[in-house]
Symmetry: C2
Subunit: 526 residues, 2 copies
Amino acid sequence: MQYLDFDRTGAYKKLSDLAARGKSFDFGALLTSERVAASTAPMAGGLIYSWAAKAVDAPVVSTLQNLSEEQELIGKYKALLDGETVNTGENRMVLHHLLRGQTGKRVSHGGKDLGSFYRLELDRFSAFSENVRNGTIRGSTGKAFTVAAQIGIGGSDLGPRALYLALEQWAASEGKRSLRGVFISNVDPDDAAQVTGSIPLEETIFILVSKSGTTQETLANELFVKEKLGKAGLDPSKHIVAVTSETSPLAHNPAYLDSFYIDDFIGGRYSSTSAVGGVILSLAFGPDTFKELLDGAREADTLALEPNLLGNAALLDAAIGVWERNFLDYPATAILPYSQALSRFPAHLQQLDMESNGKRVNRNGQPLTYSTGPVIFGEPGTNGQHSFYQLLHQGSAIVPLQFVGFTESQMREDVSVEGSTSQVKLNANLAAQIVAFAKGKGDPNRNKEFPGGRPSSLIYGQRLTPKTLGSLLAHFENKVMFQGFIWNLNSFDQEGVQLGKVLARKVLAGNSGDGALEAYAKLLGI
Amino acid sequence: MQYLDFDRTGAYKKLSDLAARGKSFDFGALLTSERVAASTAPMAGGLIYSWAAKAVDAPVVSTLQNLSEEQELIGKYKALLDGETVNTGENRMVLHHLLRGQTGKRVSHGGKDLGSFYRLELDRFSAFSENVRNGTIRGSTGKAFTVAAQIGIGGSDLGPRALYLALEQWAASEGKRSLRGVFISNVDPDDAAQVTGSIPLEETIFILVSKSGTTQETLANELFVKEKLGKAGLDPSKHIVAVTSETSPLAHNPAYLDSFYIDDFIGGRYSSTSAVGGVILSLAFGPDTFKELLDGAREADTLALEPNLLGNAALLDAAIGVWERNFLDYPATAILPYSQALSRFPAHLQQLDMESNGKRVNRNGQPLTYSTGPVIFGEPGTNGQHSFYQLLHQGSAIVPLQFVGFTESQMREDVSVEGSTSQVKLNANLAAQIVAFAKGKGDPNRNKEFPGGRPSSLIYGQRLTPKTLGSLLAHFENKVMFQGFIWNLNSFDQEGVQLGKVLARKVLAGNSGDGALEAYAKLLGI
């Protein structure tokens, strides 16, 4: 396999040549019903990726296809699936796809078949969840558990929380919800105080999630919870399960009701489909629901092997994103789901994308001179329309947009006002925004003029279900992976989070040796 | 008063000359305890604005002071307070400061003294709230109200919601909380279904908030709620109050228990200190709590009259933001409160800033060629550290940061692990991040190298209370206002939200006349 910095590829040169035309390409004027019909790529679970409103034409598509081949994107993906050491900085394999099924070759480590290991853990926490849900496993006062409270931060929080919220109402409307999920993440003690103050502790099972077992925030919150449980006369060892690696201090520890395992080949932000997300989702909605999510993700992983750009939504989305970032020079991307259930999905994608590709060195640690990952932000529509869309429509900079929409609501409760349901209004707004951003509108009053030329893509489907959610999750994971391959960087480490941790420990130890740091600590009461 | 486009000022030229030096200014190396001690400006309620870790030195400060004088920023603010038609696009005064007290001259409209009008409404909803809280006013089954549910979107949702969450735990710990607040905003029917399914309807008072009384989402959600109430055998007219303008169809309407009024001079995103935020905050925490918040805001408004940049935190913050946007070319700003209670404050500031200054024409509708408002995003720390900070530390682009921190937690429940409380850990992390971003760290392994030179400011204080929250809110409102004056644009209209609404109505009426729009509507099941 050949690993070239992006600016050393032939495609980079060709895309640079196309950039001037791309910036002035009036795709709004070309946006017809025919283009909308023709510009789609299939996704797993029946979702569809529509790129009609992107500043992309045939020469750009064919050059992006060349780029994909020149950078051997599918080959690199296959190598990842087959257990190559893709996480070069930490010298690790990258195996979150294997959590969903055997898409590549069998992978083993230290004589252990890792596909079997992940399946075994899935089976173990599925059985455990069933036993909690049917009342076989109960709290220390004998009461059945009604609340599952995740203690974790970063990848142990954002993904699982986004997925929980995405399915909570679906599960309620399908009669699948059993335990209610809540989340404690921040080291700010007000977070744990607020959450533990709002739940019946004797009916709560806590899920302590830390791969290393040393995460400062999570251990502080564990103690907070243990003290609360103790004061309530409850036995913490009957109320806490651990999700961790087998080498962590939390593993095989009788202080917990049970423990479920992941390993170093599952990165935090890619761990939603492991026990990190699986335990709380299985407790809340049942293991079958979680397995449907895995099915959607696995189907997406398989589709992402397709070499033809126009038949591979993750690859196409990745390539268009790079076109927008490096050649149209757009520094940010907004994620705009027209689905209240996806309210925290943008926060998960913010971590997934910015922590993976917010890098300035290549996979070998050599400096890069081109732009890498954009700033990612977003809120659900139509809420965002009444907030930051002003800047998106008429601001001085262009922000590419990623819309998501569904034909049906999750809960199927609706009202009709002035001849249309709320679900139809929601989608009428979504369709209207895509066209308004693309085409704009002239007006003699320049304050009421819309410049248009603001690109967006749309992922759409019938309904947000476990399977379509799994498809959506894996789509973005695979998109980010392909972009990392294009930029020739390591999307799977996060050295940028270390310095802050080191300095914080120095402050706590009282030996920072830095006058400014001590001054700031003093301002903050330390 | 003189209204010059920014690039026609002398200061613009001088700042352009300083820009190259600013981009290579190693403020990290100059960041000493002395600089930290010297680089602060007082804010209302005892908060302090620290700008030591900004790429700003004496020549920049003095040029920004010149800019303030040349653009007559304080004079324009006074004119706004005195009732000048600052919202040129809509030909309106801008009077949200008057909600907090009489900081400028008396202002009247159509013979009505508006200060008195706003005070009267404050008195009315204060008395009403007391009557609900003490059980004098009850629901249609005679039960006392225990839940206040706001129905509103955009400015009728984000600000009130952020403030509610910011004070919820403070109020609980001070024994002030009475009604629990919930919010329905999105036209997605799953939003209203989820919220109404999680509250005791017979104990819920709904606050219907729409200035015009015609907001599509809010009217759809009103009907949703009325149908729910009806099905539960409850009388909607005993469960809903309206907050609207006196000319709206919702005003003086016997379909509501009561109505409280604002007017066209209170913009949506500036309406948190009107009845729009005041009713729910007064119901939840008592009118005295809301008045403390107004006190903090009024004190901030008075401080913002100070002409000396270094004594006026809002003015300084605004000017530094413009320096970073137009001369250091940073396209985004992150808001990072180290306070779980401020979890949705970034979402409010995202609207406040991006909807106000995401413009491309000046106050007279003439095109601007310089950059205006940045993209705003953020999450609370330490959560963000485990998410997108990787890009902030080591990404290819620089993002200025706005930190907020408090010495004490809100709830004062804490644990000590390894010799420090969680609150101390929280603040040790905050101090560490500021210094890590500014100074960076060399490393022979470039993947572990931190470039530094990433600017931040810090707002800090003792505790997040109603008064400090009011100070914080008004600080950002005034900062955004000053930036609008510098850019010579109208921060108080939002024409950019109109086109989407128009096209959505056409889709709903079935007469869009645009093939692409119809094609998108069809994809989405319409």
